[in-house]
Amino acid sequence: MIQKKEVVIIGGGAAGLAAAVACHQKGIEDILIIERGDYLGGILNQCIHDGFGLEKFNTSLTGPEYAQRYIDKVANRKIPFLLNSMVIGLTPQKEVVVVNSQGLQHYRAKVIILAMGCRERTRGAISIPGTRPSGIYTAGVAQELINLKNYMVGEKIVVLGSGDIGLIMARRLSLEGAEVIMVAEKLPYSSGLPRNINQCLYDFDIPLLLSHTVVDIEGNGRLSGVTIAQLGKRGGIIPGSKRKITCDTLLLSVGLIPENELSREAGITLDNITGGPQVDERGQTSIPGIFSCGNVLQVHDIVDNVSLEAEYIVEGVIEYLKGKLTKERKIKVELGNGLRYVVPQTLIRVKDIIFSFRVNQPGRKKILLFEDGIRLIKKKSLQRVNPAEMIRIKLSSKELEGIKRLKVKLV
């Protein structure tokens, strides 16, 4: 039997909760959040450090505190949710198959909001050579083990990759008495936020070695050591730079991948760079009525932006439900120099629109230009740009009035 729903939200983490609350605020009551974990809040529950909520709530919260604010809202509004329930099927007709201990349930929704978050890139995906001992963890798994289960993953630790979770975990494990020998980063700049480099590494005297990577792993039972090497400008190993580090643990913080297996199954068009669906200005994917927000759309560095993005796309959900979201026109946002990606990838109407970008490399005194091929639409000076920090810029409907094309570049 198929149960009908107005809005089904897949994922009960930061994005899913914010989207649910925003839908409810706009008068939609027939909502269902489907969460595979034991509790709502997703990955926030294991992020026990603070620094969340500065933008959204004007105060510094821990991950669980931040999640709780939304969980309370969901509870107050009596928004229905399922826990321990995994979506195992999604169709272009917006049918969802859920499995849990009660059995299989089928839902057909008018709108589906994808909020599945992201997963960590693994050793296998980046092909680190060497043996395959125990003691190699992605930073997020190590975080879950220490923060939620009280298990220590190791005592002498090398971190590869300077993503934020890696930096946070370097501090976390230091606080627990482990020796964090170094953080090695393949690129000549860090992929984590500057504040995390200061607070998690420098305050704890943990060296950050830029342009360094792990080129070998040793140990047959437990990890016994890694070899690191310095990389030259073209990414090759600098001769003579290899050195062996004795350690029992290697933590990987080498990137996050939006979790779009269901999107792919439904036939949603994905963006090769972001790894998320290609969307219009309100997060609508290539399948009308299926929206996407949060880390499944693009990997964010700040959770506040995840919540903001989720609330923002709900405007589109409402219009879609009212039948107002017609595809008046379709403008592809063209990506120029200096930028790695842009979200949204297409525009279908004239509205106030928030664009998200990431740059290709760090720089100072840059200018972001929006052009329509003939005239300059908007110009924004940026004192400092960094691939680790997402840039979000709003263009008003007035600025976008009458454009035929839209090109963005960084000069």
Partner: protein, 493 residues
């Protein structure tokens, strides 16, 4: 029959696919059999680190055991897998020529295969190749419809479990240190777990079969480790090929060339490379070979992208042919000339998987020539594996959850493995209790996130099931502990 502790009629050394097949074949008779395995589970050597191909038998020199047993094994493989509830699929194979001169070699292989008794071999032109494999680049191919795939580790586990069920004793974590002969001519086998005695010893120690043989007979055999590295591709790439895609083997080579294998679980394997190494336990992967694998992939299947790679691993061939000679020596399946009742299985490299059961039958024949073996009328050829929730139809899924709600909890999201399956694997009859044992039995942690989601959950289930301390949870047995303990346990108020 002997009944005292650790006293057996036959002791098998080595729990790879061949050792386990021997154990099962012997359990058809009224014999007291034990198998000793140095690792924490069966099948952790060559048996879990190959392409999982049930070869049809055209690659091997006519008249050799390799040719004969492979063809025999290929023909009975479907039945074996059916009895043991192991996945098997006859998907066929193409050996692809990219240059004119390679076409001659295809013809030679076809003639050789036909001599060996391989059926339905066909040379196909580029048009037919295009129809069969639209994404493969080649000018002609040898098509072998009889070639099949299986899961080599599930088969090894299944053989072991079936043998166990038919009263063979399994001793894991048991490493043989020495073998001596007692006055009554029985063997005394000393291990890290104590002494065993037996009338017969089957040496199926794979890479270490030379070392084990050496314990009773000096310097008769030598095994040269020859490593092959693989890449594993995401299931999302499975559409690229339909069959096994092989290059034309080079005249003098110790392997069949880097090929593309659709696995039974819909991943694609690229590999293996072919490199003689010094240490038998060096299972490293290397950046040089990984580059080579990518380059070979580009040659045959340019559609493969590095983004599809989810893992790399290596396996080690147990070769008798030294690196100076390369190529192949035939399998050794014989009783030692000088040491009665000591049966050597040496140099069982490819096609060892396809040949496992015929090899085991040969071992039985050798013993039968000397002993009057009585049939075990209680022998049960069938064994049930762990039911895979994900592969069931919707009706069955609903019924399963009703029957046990643990089927409704998906622990491994990528491979959609349920808690029920994990618990069944944790309760495996062999008593293997490491993470890798769960992985091979269920596929949990084998998907694109490589355990990122399910690893902590599976650790917890194992810990509960066996009442382990955190330090006792291992990846793959001794010394591979995953955690160093609890932290911040005591809170002072």
């Amino acid at each position: 029959m002997k009944t005292t502790n650790n006293n057996y009629d036959v002791i098998i050394i080595g729990g790879g696919v061949v050792g386990c097949a021997v154990a099962r074949e012997l359990s058809r008779y009224k014999l007291n059999v034990a198998l000793l395995e140095k690792e924490a589970d069966v099948g952790w050597g060559i048996s879990c680190r190959n392409s999982g191909v049930v070869h049809s038998g055209f690659n091997y020199k006519p008249g050799t055991l390799r040719a004969q047993l492979c063809v025999e094994g290929n023909r009975s493989f479907a039945k074996l897998c059916q009895e043991l509830d192991v996945p098997y699929k006859k998907i066929g194979k193409v050996v692809v020529a990219q240059k004119k001169e390679e076409v001659e070699e295809l013809k030679r292989l076809k003639v050789q295969g036909e001599k060996n008794g391989v059926e339905e071999l066909e040379i196909i032109d580029s048009d037919k190749l295009k129809r069969l494999e639209p994404n493969v680049k080649g000018i002609a191919a040898l098509y072998s419809p009889e070639t099949a795939i299986t899961s080599p580790y599930l088969l090894t586990i299944a053989l072991a479990e079936n043998a166990l069920n038919n009263a063979v004793s399994f001793f894991l974590n048991t490493k043989v240190k020495s073998i001596t002969r007692l006055r009554n001519s029985d063997f005394r086998i000393t291990t890290n777990k104590g002494e065993f005695t037996s009338s017969y010893v089957i040496n199926s120690a794979g890479l270490y079969s030379d070392k084990v043989a050496h314990m009773v007979e000096k310097d008769k055999y030598r095994i040269y480790p020859c490593r092959g590295e693989y890449y594993v591709l995401d299931k999302n790439a499975s559409w690229i090929i339909n069959r096994l895609i092989y290059p034309v083997p080079k005249a003098v080579s110790g392997g069949l060339g880097i090929h593309f294998t659709p696995t039974i679980d819909k991943n694609i394997l690229i590999g293996p490379s072919n490199e003689y190494i010094k240490q038998k336990d060096n299972l490293s992967t290397t950046s040089q070979i990984m580059k080579l694998l990518s380059a070979e992939a580009q040659k045959f299947l340019p559609l493969i992208s590095s983004r599809d790679i989810i893992r790399s691993y290596s396996g080690i061939r147990a070769k008798q042919a030294p690196s100076s000679e390369s190529g192949y020596w035939d399998f050794v399946i014989e009783e030692s000339n000088s040491v009665n009742n000591f049966i050597n299985l040496i140099g069982i490299e490819s096609p060892g998987l396809a040949s496992a059961q015929p090899i085991a039958k040969k071992v039985v024949e050798i013993i039968k020539r000397k002993e009057n073996l009585k049939t075990n009328s209680n022998f049960k050829p069938f064994r049930k594996g762990i039911l895979r929730f994900e592969e069931q139809d919707e009706k069955t899924k609903i019924a399963l959850i009703k029957q046990d709600p643990n089927y409704g909890e998906i622990v491994c999201r990528c491979e959609k493995v349920t808690k029920k399956e994990i618990l069944e694997a944790a309760n495996n009859p062999l008593g293997a209790r490491s993470l890798i044992s769960i992985k091979y039995r269920t596929r949990a942690m084998m998907g694109r996130c490589q355990g990122g989601y399910c690893l902590p959950r599976i650790m917890e289930l194992l810990k509960e099931r066996y009442e382990l301390t955190p330090q006792e949870i291992t990846l793959k047995g001794e010394h591979s502990y995953l955690l160093t303990g609890y932290r911040s346990d005591e809170v002072s108020i």
